[in-house]
Symmetry: C2
Subunit: 311 residues, 2 copies
């Protein structure tokens, strides 16, 4: 197969799909557009969790068992930080610090996040394009029964325990897509645009909230295929199912399809749920991505579905 | 003995003397005024080498064999930084990073270096006062046969290899002594002011270059005693002897006494050199500080000399 593949992605689940794609396509053909609304400043450092998860996963550095951070990480920094009375609710591994410190330094020197990210991907020999959704600051805030919380306070410190009432993406209305984002989506050479099985409300919506991106998706000649994050009436990971309940939504593929409505052409669903009742084209596979083979299979099924739509 | 002890100090040698003093006096009686002209920004982080050496040494965290940094340090950060193509001429240990990151964050939040330093000393249970010479930025620049170098480039990157022609302390003329510095020197309760056996040109001169400090020393009622950094016609550590040669000075206690001239009342010299020919009062002891007992002995000898002068 030739042609470019574009993936809109959050962290863990999306990184697995991109890793699957890299088993099928030359990396130069792949462009990942990554959520940056989870990014935040902590101890003065610029932290980009989803970009880092992608970089770690694709370079074989991710701690798969833990689900975040680096394999073989050490924690001397955190121990010393605690001894000094520093904030310790957000864990920063020693190796992980290198990304944050160097990124903060480069950003302070005037480099844009997209350039920093490209530099890191190149340093680790990754051939694909990893694009932040925007070089401008967008910050997810979650309105909960315990008040409004910045995303990482909700997600890490409070472990998603508060009930979510609404979500807003501060700064999104003024953000511009990062260089290359609109071009990749609209590129006539692009043969498929995938939405990864990341949390639609927390990880994909911020990307769609950047002015120009959803318009570009609607105008794209390439088919847009979402991979549903629902497996067996649950979310594989993270707060998706809980969040859907709190937002008054059934945890079904119909809810996912309705959410992406005029943005997608087809939905890849898990065999445990099936696609019954969906008003858009769909395909069924085992979407659990435990092994590298699983990841390649899901990527293949998503590309096949895109090809069927385009065909 | 009662009364306050004030020490002007650089890094390693001075930290040993202060540790010696802590064997003799209650920590609350000790005020260390520390050189901050070695401080620099690296990767955006605020690094204060002499303050950190003091904090590590006094809290039992110093790597004595290495002469800098922390005992039991790990290096995961540096490894990851190198993999990203980050600058690696200045080594940052994982635990060491906690001081730099937290200090940078607190300074950026508007806290002054003196307050940050007091916070760190308190967090590690140190009872003494550790005062930076100034909260304002002063930066040592070394004019060498290879051009002018910022201090850490000369000291760490070039390992003191270039021949020194002159030394200047950028920003010193506008710097104000940190809160407590002038008060400690002039306090009528102060019974001795010691100048540690740190490099007079690189570590002590920056302190004396802050307007008000040398005037306060001259006006102080307490005797001012310097501990000579010369041992057997050499410097114990670092570039002192090499530097003296490059500046056209004999490596003798007479040179040290002449350098401090109207600033000191007496000089403590090593038994290998003696004090012959000195025009000021002096005492002789073994000034090598290998063990904790050595450090206490040198501190005791310096205090005894101060008492003799005062008496």
């Amino acid at each position: 197969m030739s042609g470019r593949i574009v993936v809109l992605t959050g962290g863990v689940g999306g990184a697995k799909l991109v890793l699957g794609l890299m088993q099928l396509c030359p990396p130069q053909a792949i462009t990942a557009i990554v959520n940056t609304a989870d990014d935040f400043r902590h101890l003065g450092l610029a932290i980009s969790p989803d970009i880092d998860t992608l970089l770690y996963t694709l370079s074989g550095k991710a701690n798969a068992a833990q689900g975040w951070g680096r394999e073989g990480e050490t924690w001397t920094f955190m121990d010393a930080l605690k001894s000094l009375g520093g904030e310790d609710w957000f864990l920063l591994g020693d190796g992980d610090m290198a990304l944050h410190v160097l990124r903060s330094h480069l950003l302070a020197s005037g480099e844009r996040l997209s350039a920093v990210t490209a530099r890191f991907a190149a340093a680790w020999g990754l051939g694909l394009s990893v694009l932040p959704m925007s070089d401008d600051t967008v910050a997810t805030h979650v309105e909960t029964d315990r008040g409004e919380l910045p995303f990482q306070r909700y997600f890490v410190e409070q472990r998603c325990a508060p009930a979510v009432r609404a979500i807003r993406f501060e700064g999104a209305e003024r953000a511009r897509p990062a260089p290359g984002v609109i071009e990749a989506i609209g590129d006539p050479e692009t043969r498929a645009i995938l939405i990864a099985p990341s949390n639609p409300w927390l990880s994909v919506d911020p990307i769609l909230a950047v002015p120009g991106i959803s318009e570009a998706l609607k105008a794209a000649s390439a088919p847009v295929v979402a991979v549903s994050p629902i497996v067996g009436g649950q979310a594989v990971k993270g707060p998706t199912a809980k969040l859907m309940g709190e937002l008054g939504l059934a945890v079904t593929n119909r809810s996912i399809a309705a959410h992406y409505a005029d943005m997608i052409d087809a939905l890849l669903v898990d065999e445990r749920d099936g696609g019954e009742g969906l008003a858009i084209p769909y395909a069924v596979t085992d979407t659990l991505m435990k092994t590298l083979d699983d990841r390649a299979r899901v990527a293949r099924a998503a590309l096949d579905l895109a090809e069927r739509i385009a065909g």
